[in-house]
């Protein structure tokens, strides 16, 4: 402090001598040093007072007293500054905690792309914030059957992510060889209804592809309809099935529907982070998704999913408003 006292006084003296901008600039640089060394505002006033009284010894004592008044005034500013610094540090700690949690979630959800005869599979799942409220799940049953689930917790961030881990454990508890899509949704609905807060709603799309008859069977719990592309007619069709959101009531019946996949056909299951694309001008027409997928229909399923994500992210200036998940299953 003595050192700073001397430097401060010298700086002040130089300024008083020349009254120039240069020394004001030095003062500004010097103040940064103060902040770095966590010198409180009241200490700065005290330094100033001592410097003034040293430079002008003839000054009346009242001038020193006015500085004491200012020191009193500065105590709370000093406290506010330190509180601010401590809150920033806390924020950094929270941020690090979130990153760890996001890693845990990533490991937990860890979707792997399955190998199923005659089917090309691709997906993208990106979180809007550190943690995702979307869930994507694949399971293969001896290369003969493929199950795919896409779920979306209404809401995002940590609460949604916690909810998602429950869905994951629900899915792990089901023996899917035995179950058809409408049954799977019924079971998951019961788990969610029992264990999730009333304000949490989850939509889910569940599909199964049978390699032998090339049928894609699906059911939906209030989820966005999937898109079905028919290569022969070069047209899109929405694959929707009736069913209530998960967790609303205990016993729910889910409609089950079927579509036959021919070579070049594909099914795209999405969350509303894909279909409800928001730009500065408002929501985009969902026809854009069909258009984008059509442009790359001859590429691999993964390339299609990547392309869709990249294009839609670009339209939003790379700011995701909601978690984004798309799964594409394409008949070879």
């Amino acid at each position: 402090m003595m050192d700073l006292q001397k430097q401060y006084q010298e700086l002040l003296e130089k300024y008083l001598e020349n009254l120039d901008e240069k020394n004001l600039y030095f003062a500004q640089q010097f103040s940064r040093k103060f902040i770095e060394q966590e010198i409180a505002p009241e200490d700065v006033v005290s330094l100033h007072k001592d410097a003034v009284m040293n430079i002008f010894p003839e000054l009346r004592n009242e001038v020193a007293t006015t500085h004491d008044f200012l020191i009193e005034m500065m105590i709370h500013y000093g406290l506010a500054l330190r509180e601010h610094q401590s809150l920033i540090k806390k924020r950094e700690e929270l941020h690090m905690e979130m990153e760890v949690a996001a890693n845990v979630q990533e490991k937990l959800m860890n979707a792997t792309r399955p190998n199923v005869d005659g089917l090309d599979i691709g997906y993208v799942s990106e979180a809007a914030k550190a943690m995702s409220g979307d869930y994507i799940y694949f399971a293969e049953h001896g290369r003969k059957n493929l199950s795919v689930a896409v779920a979306d917790v209404i809401g995002k961030g940590i609460p949604a992510a916690l909810c998602m881990s429950m869905i994951k454990f629900g899915m792990d508890s089901i023996d899917e060889n035995e179950s058809v899509p409408s049954e799977v949704l019924k079971i998951i609905n019961r788990i969610v209804e029992k264990s999730v807060d009333n304000s949490m709603f989850i939509s889910m799309y569940y599909g199964m592809y049978n390699v032998e008859n090339q049928h894609f069977t699906y059911a939906s719990a209030g989820h966005e309809p999937a898109l079905f592309y028919c290569a022969k007619t070069k047209s899109f069709e929405q694959l929707d099935a009736k069913g209530l959101l998960l967790g609303v009531k205990r016993e729910v019946e889910y409609e089950e529907c079927q579509v036959h996949l021919h070579s070049g056909d594909f099914v795209a299951i999405m969350t509303d982070g894909v279909t409800e694309i928001r730009t500065e001008d408002g929501f985009l027409d969902s026809a854009i998704i069909e258009q984008l997928l059509f442009e790359v229909r001859d590429q691999s399923a993964q390339q299609m999913a990547d392309y869709l994500f990249k294009q839609l992210a670009q339209l939003q200036n790379f700011r995701l408003h909601d978690d984004f998940t798309v799964a594409i299953m394409k008949k070879r």
Partner: protein, 133 residues
């Protein structure tokens, strides 16, 4: 001068009396202007909290001699409602955002040692120490 002295808090003017006592003590112990202001602000916050939340209570000042170290102890005690969630009160941003002044974290920052004892329905005692450097 007495080693111990105190001010009973009944009205807002007693907050001023507690400040005055604290400042006089701090000055005579040898604290500089800035530390005097810090000690006084801490006392002010503690006394105000008594006045606002407990109604009545006491601010006591003690001089400390620990070998060559000299310092001062501030004890704020009341038989008020107590603090149900101390952790929350000690959290940054909890009281300041509500416009309640520096709050307990602020008082803690102004002194070197700080202890809070509280029981709901019984009262609160806060002990703060500032050492002369």
């Amino acid at each position: 001068m007495n080693e111990r002295s105190s001010v009973e808090i009944y009205t807002e003017w007693d907050v001023v009396a507690a400040r005055q006592l604290g400042r006089d003590e701090a000055k005579s112990i040898g604290f500089g202007t800035v530390d005097q202001a810090r000690i006084t602000t801490a006392i002010s916050e503690l006394a105000r909290n008594i006045y606002l939340y407990a109604g009545t209570g006491k601010i006591e000042i003690r001089r400390l001699h620990d070998g060559v170290k000299k310092g001062m102890m501030i004890i704020s005690s009341d038989n008020g409602p107590g603090i149900p969630d101390v952790r929350k009160v000690m959290e940054d941003g909890f009281t300041t955002s509500g416009g309640l002044g520096a709050g307990m974290p602020g008082v803690q920052r102004l002194v070197d040692e700080f202890k809070i004892e509280t029981e709901v329905g019984v009262g609160t005692t806060i002990t703060a120490i500032k050492w002369l450097r």
